[in-house]
C-alpha cells in the first residue's frame, strides 16, 4: 500500500542556491536558515521516501506568457534543470514517475480539475533548491518526482481555496495509488516577500507566523483571503504560499505532527521558513 510519510515545506529563493554554491552554510548571515535542515534530512533519511510530489511555481524557465497554465502536472520520464539566466548552477536531472503522474492526472480530471499535462518540462530553482537542501552532496536524487506547477506569475491566480482543493484531490489520488512506495509531499516558496515595485523589500512576520501556526491543524484559515488580500499581507511573491497550501491539502485529514519548524528573517529579500509535518 502506498504510504504518505508527510510534508516537507521550504522557501526556495535563488540566493540559497548561491549560498550553497559558495559554501556559505555556516556563514553568520546564512546559518540561522541552514540550521533548519539537519532535522529535515534526519527525517528523510529515516523514512526513505521513494517519490516526491512537489507543488511549486515556475519563474520563467519552462513557462512563458505565451502559454501560462493555472495548474500543470508533469508526466515526463525525466525533468531537467537549465540555465535560468542569472548565474545559478544547472542542477541534477530528476527522474520522473510517469505512471503515478498519469494516475494523478486521471484522478484530477475525474475530480473536475482541468489541469495541463506536460510530457516535457524544465524545472527551475523552485524544485532544485529544496532538493539540494534536503539531499545535499548526493550523486543522484534518491526520489522520483511528480512536479505540479501552480501559476503565481500572471494574475488571475487560482484562489487559495482552489489550491487547497487541488491539493486534497491530489491526496485522494495518492491514496488510491496501488504501490509499495513511500511518498513525501512538498510545497516550496515563500514566505512573505516582494521583489517588485516601490514596496520591494516588504516582509510581514505576523502573517507568516499566522500561516505557520495554522498550516497543520487549520489550513482553512489560510484560504479565507482573496489573492489580492494575500498579496497585500505577504507581498507579490509571498503569494507562493499557494504551493504550501496545496501541499498541505495533499496530506489530507490524516493525523499530523510538526516534526520541525524554522523561521528566519531575512535571506535575500525573503522571510524564510522550513517545516516538516509528519504523518503519525
Amino acid at each position: 500500500m502506498t504510504e504518505i510519510i508527510g510534508g516537507y515545506f521550504t522557501s526556495h529563493v535563488p540566493a540559497i542556491g548561491g549560498a550553497i554554491a559558495k559554501g556559505l552554510q555556516s556563514d553568520p548571515y546564512w546559518k540561522p536558515f541552514f540550521d533548519g535542515f539537519p532535522p529535515i534530512r534526519q527525517w528523510l533519511n529515516q523514512e526513505k521516501p521513494d517519490v516526491a510530489v512537489v507543488f511549486y511555481n515556475d519563474h520563467g524557465l519552462n513557462f512563458f506568457l505565451d502559454k501560462m497554465p493555472t495548474f500543470a502536472v508533469g508526466a515526463a520520464d525525466e525533468y531537467q534543470s537549465a540555465d535560468e539566466g542569472w548565474g545559478l548552477p544547472v542542477y541534477k536531472t530528476f527522474t520522473g514517475d510517469p505512471a503515478l503522474s498519469w494516475h494523478i492526472i486521471e484522478a484530477l480530471v475525474g475530480d473536475e480539475f482541468d489541469i495541463t499535462t506536460c510530457q516535457k518540462m524544465f524545472v527551475d530553482h523552485a524544485m532544485s533548491i529544496p532538493f539540494e537542501l534536503a539531499w545535499p552532496n548526493v550523486d543522484a536524487w534518491p526520489v522520483k518526482l511528480v512536479p505540479i506547477a501552480i501559476n503565481t506569475v500572471q494574475h488571475p491566480l487560482p484562489s487559495a481555496k482552489r489550491c487547497l482543493a487541488l491539493g486534497r484531490a491530489v491526496g485522494r489520488a495518492l491514496e488510491s495509488w496501488e504501490s509499495d512506495d513511500k511518498i513525501v509531499v512538498m510545497g516550496t516558496g515563500g514566505l512573505s516577500h516582494q521583489l517588485d515595485g516601490a514596496r520591494a523589500g516588504f516582509i510581514n512576520s505576523d502573517y507568516d507566523r499566522f500561516c505557520l501556526d495554522h498550516l497543520m491543524n487549520d489550513p482553512e484559515a489560510l484560504v479565507q483571503d482573496s489573492i489580492a488580500g494575500i498579496v497585500e499581507k505577504a507581498g507579490t511573491q509571498g503569494v507562493e504560499i499557494l504551493n504550501w497550501i496545496a501541499a498541505r491539502g495533499a496530506l489530507g485529514a490524516r493525523p499530523l505532527a510538526k516534526r520541525t519548524e524554522n523561521y528566519h528573517i531575512p535571506i535575500s529579500n525573503t522571510a524564510a521558513a522550513s517545516v516538516v509535518l509528519e504523518a503519525v
Binding site: 500572471q154 494574475h155 515595485g197 507579490t236 529579500n269
Partner: protein, 119 residues
Amino acid sequence: MSAMLASERQPIEGTTLFDGDMAQRGYALNAMCYSFNDAENREEFRRDEEAYCRKYHLTPGQRRAVADRDVLGMIAEGGNVYYLAKLAGIWGLNVQDLGAAQTGLSVDAFKAKLLSYSE
C-alpha cells in the same frame, strides 16, 4: 468568498499586480527577458543592446526604461520581475540591487531595512 474581478480590486500601495493588462502591455519586454535564459542571447544583448531590443520590438517606453536601467519604469511598462531578473543578471544586479533601485535606498540601506524586520 466570491471571485474578485481585476476592476473591483483595491490598489495595494507600491504594488502592481501583474494581470492581463500588464501582461499584454509588457509582452515584448518580457519576451526579450525570457530569451536571456540562453547564454548566446545574453551575449548578443551585451554586444548590441539597441539591435537586440529592436529585434524584440520593444515599445519606445520599454526601450527608454531599459536604456535608463529604470526598474520601476520597466515594471510600469509591463515588465514582470521574474523575467526582468534575467535582464538584471546581465547587468550583474541581484534582487537586492533591484530592491534598492526601486525604493531609492542604497543597497546597504535596503539590506539594513530587511534585517530590521528580524528585530
